[in-house]
């Protein structure tokens, strides 16, 4: 399960960022922010012509000593980042993919809300509870 989940706007500012409360929140913010370097590089590496066929899931962005950072980019260049504890070896690539898919679906629901203003931070209860379900449960 994730320790931090973030949604980043096309312009690279955070739309939503949530981390496990017990740990240093700021550290996760930095982790997510620095991971954008790799995301940008990966997006630009895919040629313009191939942009349509590009896979949305970017895979493991970079491993740190303590965390693994995974990325996903929608066609509208909105980025999802999931940070997982390195010690959590039970998570397979497939599970990460399905987490991203769930996140994407829920994000699409948010976007479909006529009262949501694209570019604003996400303040949806449904989205929140979906993210909570994917986070490491802190007892």
């Amino acid at each position: 399960m994730a320790v931090c989940i973030a949604v980043i706007a096309k312009e690279n500012y955070p739309l939503y960022i949530r981390s496990v409360p017990i740990q240093n929140e700021l550290k996760f913010h930095y982790t997510v922010h620095t991971s954008l370097d790799v995301v940008e590089e990966k997006i630009s590496a895919v040629g313009k012509a191939m942009a349509d066929q590009r896979e949305l899931y970017l895979g493991l962005l970079y491993p740190t000593e303590d965390y693994k950072v995974y990325g996903y980019v929608t066609n509208s260049k909105v980025k999802f980042v999931i940070v997982v504890d390195s010690s959590n070896t039970s998570l397979r690539d497939n599970e990460i993919r399905s987490m991203f898919r769930k996140l994407h679906n829920s994000f699409t629901d948010v976007m479909c809300n006529p009262f949501y203003n694209p570019g604003d931070t996400i303040q949806s209860k449904a989205f929140d509870s979906m993210v909570s379900a994917m986070m490491v449960q802190v007892s």
Binding site: E11, N12, Y13, P14, I17, E25, L26, H29, Y30, H33, T34, L36, D37, V38, E41, L61, Y62, T64, E65, P114, F115, N117, P118, G119, D120
Partner: protein, 1134 residues
């Protein structure tokens, strides 16, 4: 450079091991030959030379003593894994090969003595290397070039005897002639040495391996590691890196098989670190970086949890930090040698992790080493050893060689730990961390990770802050702050700003302090309300020139020092005015300025609104708001000012004009009358300044460049535009902040003219005529319009050729020419009373056809009152008209014979006709005044030609024709083309007035071919005949040549006529003379009848045919029937 610390890897581990060969018997100081030999060994050791490290040693040098070899390991308990001196011993002290240099030629006079001296020297060396397997070789330095092997019998004999005397094998004796090819000989020599060294290390490996059978797994575990390491190291010396790597890997797994407990944890980690370093190094050397990375990951995973003593936890983190750092160094070195790294796998990550552990170490150190000042280092110093260094790597100074689980002396152990903690206290942690971070920054910069780089720079800044180097901290933080601001990561920005605020507080940097506070209480900050409130209160204190309260998380001593600094600042007079350019920040007051319209007429006041809004928790009072405009003369009109007393800042009342209530938008409107000089110019808001504080305390100008807005506002405006809220109706009066858009410039445009300009004319214009355009100007102003001026003519900016071919004048009585311009500027009209109307006629002459645009620009001045101010406005009105110019008529010219037959050439002295047709193309009736024929000298008129079209009116499509009878005087040669002359038509429009000038159009007549003929015939006959009435016909035949012509003539019979005269005759005509032939024709039938054909042939000019001549003669005649008696009326009718 920092001095090496306990954690640095020993240099003998990090170097590349090379076979060690010692050279003796060389006197490199005093003997030039020896010096040259030594230099040849040392200099230019490039990659293509064998890897040997040479050293010159004296003959009596003492080598490390070899301990007696152990015969049994049964009772031996090892004291540690690896002795600290071992690697150095084999790299630099114990040679693989010892080479004795000796000057001796084969034919030396005292050969025997020399031989025995050499043998003695060899013996001395052998003794000092007692017990070692080191090989000894002898090199004889000879002056003579040796003969090829086998030829010099003396040499081979003496060589054998020398080998015998020195107890050397033949392979160990070398000869070095110092001749021209010294380097070549040296290279051959060292290759031979290298082989010997290889053998030596091979035997060493064998020797170490042979110990293995004596060892048992319970007591000799340490020896397994030691021996494996030694084998690997010898293999490396032997340059057998593949096997070396294999042995190191075995050694590595053996290390981790050792029983670990608190007392030997450090030793195990130290050895594991060494072996890991060697493995990674070799992997990079073998160009298998992924193996290196995998090994390193394994190493870290295995060792991460081996913390050891909790009281010395910082040792573990220090060691971890070093592991990462040395791997980063290895990686970086490999890159320098050609390895390519990628964004997600580069040395930066290792340096970053090293920095992370260094930070951990620092935290643990501050936590574990927080002893009271009274606690001093225990004496005697537990960290001192008798030799000054440790015997084994990774052991404790106070219990060297101790290998059991529990420490031998509890008391000593405690003292030792305390001593280590005291020592740790003096470590410059921040310095280490910053060095690692900056290494990482350099790497991430190289591998395109700007955000990672910024993050590390933030960490560096924070570390500088901890190290109390606030200036450097602020420099770094300031540098990255804008990156986070533009990327809109407010949470991160807030954290950086908080650090920066603390730094500026501690340094008492007033301006920085204000700048950071301003942003921290603003909307970009993610701080909680109470934090913002605290910062705002501090900010107000600073504005009142008081000392702000300390920032949280400042240690007491620093806070105290800062208080003192602030107090000093307070007493310091002057320099209390600060201007902060807030454009690039997100300050707590937002500002948007806009002109109410993108343009203002000069007679309307310019209106300008400044919207202000505060985002801080408490209301703010300001004392001045001023707008700077591009024309500074208006600045004084755009100021709101109300000096406040110092207590006003504290108790800002929301009712006041100069008070900004959080979340409420305040509008300040300004109005001014633009200067008439600014008409047509742009007025721009260059800056908006908001003054906070007061003159007697501190005052701060928040300065917005242009019409306001800050680092965040453009994005906010974009979002607001997208928002569904913006589409809803907003009640009047209520200003939605997001919907206010900045309008930083406006145009001052001239007053709307109240004047009418009308044009009357009759298009199209005719080519070359004086085309009349009547301009009528009527004033609809309420006051007198002064100084009315008309500029009229061709509108500038059209085809340049039009300017040359268009002429404008006011005088319609004269034809205008090139001297007249295409545009008449500033025709003075004078003043106009309200309602007065003026007409002006303008004549345009267009020399070429085509379309032209004409401009009529009426300018005038007018006095008016705006906002109680008298101003003189200049107004103008433009009218344009497009006029087509066409040709008035087409002229067609043709040459015909007197019989109206078309002529393509004319004959000398024979009359012909010139016919002109004037076809009107003008939609308006034309008045042809007259026409004139101007003949060229090559043409002559038969009579006085008079115009036949004088005073003719031509309607559209009508045609006027003229006919002139002409003839050509003789030409020089038989045939030539001659000019005919010109045809002049004078005309004007029918509608133009009587005194309008007449336009003369000149038509150049075409050239015509003139031909001379030798004979000319013409007939003289009545215009008609009558049946049965004889009519006389006289043919004149002229000879136009200078020769006598023989002419044969005949008349052919015709059915319609009877005739009398010579039917066939042959005659001679003298030059220039004329022969007359008379016939009487008697018509027989009525109607058009062919005359009897006259055939003429010239005997001298067969080319001149009868056909040609017949053209000059009539071929038919009208014959009237025989009427009753002559009837004059009927004749007239015919």
């Amino acid at each position: 450079m920092m001095s090496p610390t306990q954690w640095d890897l020993p240099p003998e581990l990090c170097c590349r091991p090379m076979a060690f060969v010692a050279l003796t018997g060389l006197d490199v100081t005093y003997n030039a030959i020896h010096r040259a030999i030594w230099d040849a060994f040392c200099a230019n050791r490039r990659a293509d030379r064998v890897p040997i490290s040479f050293k010159v040693l004296p003959g009596d040098h003492e080598y490390p003593k070899c301990r007696t070899k152990r015969t049994s390991y049964e009772w031996y308990i090892p004291k540690g894994i690896l002795k600290t001196g071992w690697m150095n011993k084999h790299l630099n002290l114990v040679p693989a090969l010892l080479v004795l240099f000796y000057e001796l030629d084969w034919d030396d006079a005292v050969w025997k003595e020399k031989q025995s001296e050499c043998a003695t020297k060899v013996e001395i060396v052998r003794t000092s290397l007692q017990g070692r397997n080191t090989k000894v070789a002898v090199v004889l330095i000879q002056k003579k070039t040796p003969l090829p092997p086998g030829e010099d019998l003396v040499a081979s004999e003496r060589a054998a005897s020398l080998c015998n005397a020195c107890d050397l094998s033949g392979k160990s004796l070398f000869v070095l002639p110092h001749t021209d090819h010294l380097v070549g000989y040296i290279i051959r020599l060292e290759n031979a040495f290298y082989e010997h060294a290889q053998t030596y290390y091979y035997t060493e490996i064998r020797r170490v391996k042979s110990h293995k059978e004596f060892l048992n797994k319970t007591t000799h575990q340490l020896l397994f590691v030691r021996h494996q390491f030694k084998i690997a190291f010898f293999s490396e010396l032997k340059q057998d890196t593949q096997n070396s790597l294999k042995y190191y890997r075995t050694a590595y797994s053996l290390v981790h098989e050792l029983r670990t407990h608190e007392t030997n944890m450090l030793e195990i980690k130290a050895m594991a670190g060494f072996i890991n370093y060697k493995i990674c190094r070799l992997c990079f050397q073998h160009n298998t970086p992924l193996d290196a990375i995998a090994q390193f990951r394994k190493h870290i995973d295995l060792c991460k949890k081996k913390i050891g003593s909790a009281e010395l936890a910082f040792e573990h983190t220090a060691w971890m930090s070093k592991q990462f750092q040395s791997f980063g160094d290895l990686f970086d070195e490999a890159i320098k040698l050609g390895l390519t790294a990628i964004q997600t796998q580069n040395p930066g990550f290792y340096y970053q992790q090293a920095a992370y552990y260094a930070q951990e170490r620092k935290q643990q150190a501050t936590h574990l080493c927080a002893h009271e000042a009274s606690v001093s280092s225990p004496s005697p110093d537990h960290l001192e050893t008798s030799s000054g260094a440790l015997d084994f790597y990774g052991q404790r100074a106070w219990r060297q060689g101790h290998q059991s689980i529990d420490p031998p002396h509890m008391e000593k152990e405690k003292g030792g730990i305390l001593a280590l903690q005291m020592k740790e206290k003096d470590v410059p942690h921040s310095e280490l961390i910053i060095a690692l971070l900056s290494n990482a920054v350099a790497q991430f910069k190289k591998y395109k990770c700007p955000r990672m780089k910024s993050h590390l720079m933030v960490q560096m800044g924070e570390e500088y802050n901890h190290a109390k180097d606030y200036t450097k901290a602020l420099k770094l933080l300031d540098y990255v702050m804008c990156d986070y601001r533009t990327e809109r990561w407010w949470s991160l920005l807030t954290s950086i700003l908080s650090t920066a605020l603390r730094c500026s507080y501690l340094m008492a940097h007033v301006k920085d302090y204000i700048t950071y506070s301003m942003e921290l209480v603003g909307r970009a900050s993610t701080l909680r309300e109470e934090q913002k409130s605290r910062i705002e209160k501090n900010l107000i204190k600073v504005l009142m020139n008081e000392v702000p309260e300390a920032e949280p998380d400042c240690d007491q001593a620093s806070a105290k020092a800062a208080q003192a600094l602030w107090s000093d600042r307070m007493s310091l007079a002057g320099s209390n005015v600060f201007t902060i350019e807030v454009q690039d920040y997100v300050p707590f007051v937002q500002c948007k300025a806009k002109f109410l319209s993108p343009s203002f007429h000069v007679d309307d006041p310019v209106q300008l609104h400044v919207y202000l809004r505060a985002d801080c928790p408490h209301p703010v009072r300001f004392s001045k708001l001023c707008v700077s405009l591009s024309n500074q003369e208006y600045n004084q009109l755009c100021v709101v000012e109300e000096p406040c007393k110092s207590q006003d800042i504290l108790e800002a009342s929301s009712q006041e004009n100069m008070c900004l209530v959080p979340g409420k938008t305040r509008i300040y409107s300004f109005k001014f009358v633009a200067k008439t000089e600014d008409v047509g110019k742009k007025i721009e808001i260059t800056a908006v300044d908001l003054m906070l504080g007061s003159d007697n305390g501190r005052c701060v100008f928040l300065n917005w460049r242009g019409g306001g807005g800050d680092a965040a506002s453009s994005q906010e405006a974009l979002l607001a535009a997208r928002s569904f809220k913006s589409r809803g109706r907003v009640p009047e009066q209520h200003v939605e902040w997001d919907n206010v858009s900045i309008q930083a410039n406006t145009m001052i445009i001239s007053r709307i003219p109240k004047i009418s300009v009308q044009l009357s004319h009759e298009p199209p214009a005719l080519n070359n005529e004086m085309y009349r355009i009547t301009v009528s100007i009527q004033s609809n102003e309420e006051t007198v319009t002064k100084d009315v001026k008309l500029t009229a003519g061709l509108k500038p900016g059209q085809d340049a050729n039009l300017t040359q071919s268009t002429h404008v004048t006011l005088n319609g009585l004269e034809m205008c020419d090139e001297s007249h311009p295409a545009l008449l500027p500033d025709i003075a009209i004078g003043d106009l009373q309200p309602g007065e109307k003026v007409e002006k006629c303008l004549y345009v002459r267009c020399v070429t056809t085509g379309t032209r645009i004409f401009l009529f620009h009426v300018a005038y001045a007018l006095s008016t009152k705006v906002e109680g101010k008298d101003i003189t406005c200049k107004c103008h009105k433009d009218e344009t008209v497009t006029i087509e110019t066409i040709v008035p008529f087409e002229v067609a010219v043709k040459f015909v014979s007197t019989k109206f037959e078309h002529l393509d050439r004319v004959y000398v002295d024979i009359p012909f006709l010139l016919m002109t047709d004037i076809l009107s193309a003008s939609p308006w009736p034309l008045h042809l005044v007259t026409s004139q024929l101007q003949l060229a000298p090559t043409m002559a008129a038969m009579d006085q030609p008079q115009s036949q079209v004088e005073q003719v009116m031509l309607q559209t499509g009508e045609c006027a024709s003229e006919c002139f009878s002409l003839q050509c005087p003789p030409v020089l040669n038989g045939t030539s083309s001659v000019a005919s002359g010109q045809y002049l038509i004078s005309w004007k429009r029918k509608s133009s007035c009587a005194d309008a000038p007449v336009v003369t159009t000149v038509v150049t007549l075409p050239h015509v071919m003139v031909e001379t003929i030798p004979l000319y015939v013409h007939a003289e006959l009545p215009s008609f005949g009558r049946v049965r009435e004889s009519m006389p016909v006289r043919y004149h035949i002229q000879n136009r040549t200078g020769l006598v012509q023989d002419v044969e003539m005949s008349v052919e019979p015709s059915d319609a006529f009877m005739f009398s005269g010579l039917k066939q005759v042959r005659l001679r005509i003298l030059p220039g003379a004329e022969q007359e032939m008379l016939y009487n024709f008697y018509p027989l039938m009525a109607g058009y009848q062919s005359l009897p054909q006259l055939n003429i042939s010239l005997l001298r000019f067969p080319a001149v045919s009868g056909q040609l001549l017949r053209r000059f003669l009539p071929s038919r005649i009208f014959v009237k029937p025989q009427g009753r008696q002559a009837d004059d009326a009927s004749i007239a009718a015919a």
